[in-house]
Amino acid sequence: MNRFAALFNAIDQSTKTTVKVAALAAYFRAAPPEDRMWTIALFSGRRPKRVVTTTRLREWAADEAGIPLWLFEESYPIVGDLAETIALVLPPADGSSDKSLSAWIATLRALATVEEDARKAAVLAAWHSLEDTERFVFNKLITGGFRMGVSQKLMTRALAQATEKPEAELAHRLMGNWHPDDTTWEGLIEAEDASADASRPYPFYLAYALEDGPEALGAPSAWRAEWKWDGIRGQVILRDGQHFVWSRGEELMTDRFPELARAADFLPPGTVMDGELLVWQPQADRPDSFNALQKRIGRKTVPKKLLTDAPVVLHAYDLLEWQGSDIRETSFAERRALLEAACADLPGDAPVRLSPQLEFEGWDDLGELRSIARDENAEGVMLKRADSPYRIGRKKGDWWKWKLDPLTIDAVMIYAQAGHGRRANLFTDFTFAVRHGNDLVPFTKAYSGLTDAEFREITKWVRKNTLQRFGPVRQVTPHHVFEIAFEGIQASPRHKSGVALRFPRMSRWRQDKPLDEANTLEDLNDMLRIYG
């Protein structure tokens, strides 16, 4: 694992993209094919199945380190990463190993079928033979979640440098349902036909947020507008008599949305559509809120009742493949015309519908439409340049999301907890309350929205103003007021306050506001009545 650990260090020890990409490209040129495959897999979120529970890992590590388990548990939140905590507490290695990355993964996978004693022996043996980064990487292979500051986009760029293939083609090849177990380097990267696999999706094109309004985009006539739906982005593939549903996170969701199987009854094979999965009742004129969809997301299989209570349809807004041809290079206007033609004869109960375009003359018209988006259960409007191709990933310029201004409420911080990873040791996770008489009623958590400098400042404050500790959570003096921004509000019996917020974050630290000017539970309930 020397080579992979060296790659990891090279990436970890630089903040510069060019250095990271060069290190990866060098690795892809030199490493054996099995290691290359596993590296691609790890960097694209595919990981070996977990063979040891983290509970056991903690126990074994504390044992090996000669420290009580409580001391290990106290150290973990300070380090902010389990694999790293284990690597740090263990005594120095007393052996060495020249096993490759893929050989270590094979060793780990073999543990799935053996007794726990043998598993423990194998893990301890590995700890004794690995040091520093190698030991950390080994632990990461077990605990999963390989995030190391390289996006899939950067990895794809490095692969393109190493193989001299176009980045877009590689991005497409890396999509979909492959796993190093059943795919070779040859098959995934080198083989002639990139779309040999019927299930393989196209990389999604992602919109940028429009911060300052659309005026700077030029003539309105060059643009098309749609509602920005509050659902799940999905790509529906109809090929070879099969259908596949992919999430933006490249997760295959086919079985979660069985109603989409019927799409093949109305649309020809060789069709790939991009759109939004929404819960939409048969006679309704707008979709249900995201809450309804949430019930469907978590389930791998769907009970009949849920299928009737929360039926899902694809609101299609783009056509990527038509009659078996990749049409992403044609203009949005042309793709849209084909999509409209394809959807023209769909019956009302088909699981696919055309997402309508919004009529507007000038930006003012569109602004007015945007202001009523909430009535449609939409989050705002989307703007797409009529002559643009379907691009890969998040690229500025052709697609913009012009979201509604969020709802806001001023709340009091009452609990704080340290973050993980690069936010370890900083208090970044807070619980907020609204006032209710003399009480404070907690109603949401929020983790983001402040600058690093603000997080450092609040961290110092938390250390000095802790009232009580509950494990990693600190109750602090109610003092600071924050403006919490959120996208939606729903009644929720699971929460003490009776509400659940969508995408809560800290939009401003109201250091100008004293505690008694924070909002009240009554204010929150008013918002629920109006927007819930």
Partner: protein
């Protein structure tokens, strides 16, 4: 009849009733015994100061005109009913543990300390005592320092690589102690060592008291920095991202701190490299030092105090947490200079 302790803990700092003096007090007092010259220990405004001969020049440099007296390591003075002596703490040049003996009861206030010989500071000398006041800045088992020789190799390899790539290497470190320790670790064959004014000020003081440091050159406004090739610049952490650093053109930055042991902190610093170099004891170092004192009563000050004290209590010591205003090596390095 309960006996009065030789040392007690007050809201001004550690106090000795028998000698009527304070150790590293954080509010103005008449008589202050100072363990070392870092700002959280040697504060402004006391009536009289007592510190080692080696610590005084830096204190005078930082605090200006003070009424101060020096003392040699191992030399005993009587202050009121207390016998007092200073012993090397290995933290920075001149740093001391202060031993206080009153009617046969021995206390040691260790200030900040480390047990590894860093080649610059007077090496740590354990003192037998009944009561030991310890820091716990890095009092968790995840902190384990590598031998200095190994870090030295990594540090010079990094500098050489920067120099070969035509980049200036920026190394962030405390101006007193850490910076000079690093200077001694650096290989001057690689290129010139440049310094920020805060670092060079301390260098001058230390050189004047006879401490041998490699040749350095202070960066000044007139200096044509782009004409200086293969340089390494030593600066306080806060100066690294400043406009001051930008005029050097292509550069790489690194921090030297015990906190660099944690990958999360390293990444948050957004520097390129982190070198794990601390002037505080690691987990093993703390436990070894405590063991060597033979003390049964341990008072844990700044750092992971709750956790460290609980561990000591479970392992046969009588430990308690003592709140102080010392900061140790702060995690928030932007504030440190």
């Amino acid at each position: 009849m309960s006996k009065i302790s030789a040392l007690t803990f007050t809201d001004r700092g550690i106090y000795c009733p028998a000698g009527d003096f304070y150790i590293d007090p954080w509010r103005p007092v008449d008589r202050a015994l100072i363990t070392h010259g870092h700002a959280d220990h040697a504060r402004w405004g006391h009536g009289h100061y007592l510190a080692t001969h080696a610590a005084l020049p830096v204190m005078r440099h930082r605090l200006g005109e003070i009424d101060a007296q020096g003392i040699g390591y191992g030399e005993t003075v009587q202050i009121g009913g207390a016998n007092v002596s200073f012993h090397p703490a290995g933290h920075v040049p001149g740093s001391a543990q202060i031993r206080v003996e009153v009617a046969g009861e021995i206390w040691v206030a260790s200030g900040d300390y480390k047990v590894e010989n860093d080649g610059l500071s007077e090496p740590f000398e354990p003192q037998r005592c009944h009561h030991f006041i310890t820091e716990s800045t890095f009092g968790l088992p995840v902190f384990r320092w590598q031998p200095q020789a190994r870090i030295t190799t990594e540090l010079n390899a990094w500098w050489a690589r920067c120099a070969d790539a035509g980049k200036t290497a920026f190394l962030g470190a405390y101006a007193l102690g850490k910076a000079q320790r690093l200077m001694r670790m650096l290989d001057p064959e690689i290129g010139p060592i440049l310094t920020h004014g805060a670092v060079e000020g301390t260098n001058a003081v230390l050189r004047a008291q006879g401490i041998d440091l490699p040749e350095t050159q202070q960066v000044t406004g007139e200096m044509d920095v782009k004409s200086i090739k293969r340089a390494l610049v030593l600066a306080p952490p806060s100066a690294l991202g400043s406009t001051w650093a930008r005029k050097f053109g292509p550069r790489e930055s690194a921090f030297a701190s015990g906190w660099m042991q944690l990958r999360g902190v390293r990444r948050r610093r957004a520097g390129d490299r982190g070198f794990v170099v601390s002037d505080h004891a690691d987990w093993r170092g703390l436990l070894d030092a405590i063991g060597q004192t033979g003390a049964e009563n341990i008072y844990v000050t700044h750092g992971y105090t709750d956790i460290f004290a609980r561990y000591l209590n479970e392992n046969g010591w009588q430990a308690q947490v003592v709140p102080t205003e010392f900061e140790g090596e702060t995690l928030d390095m932007d504030a440190a200079s």
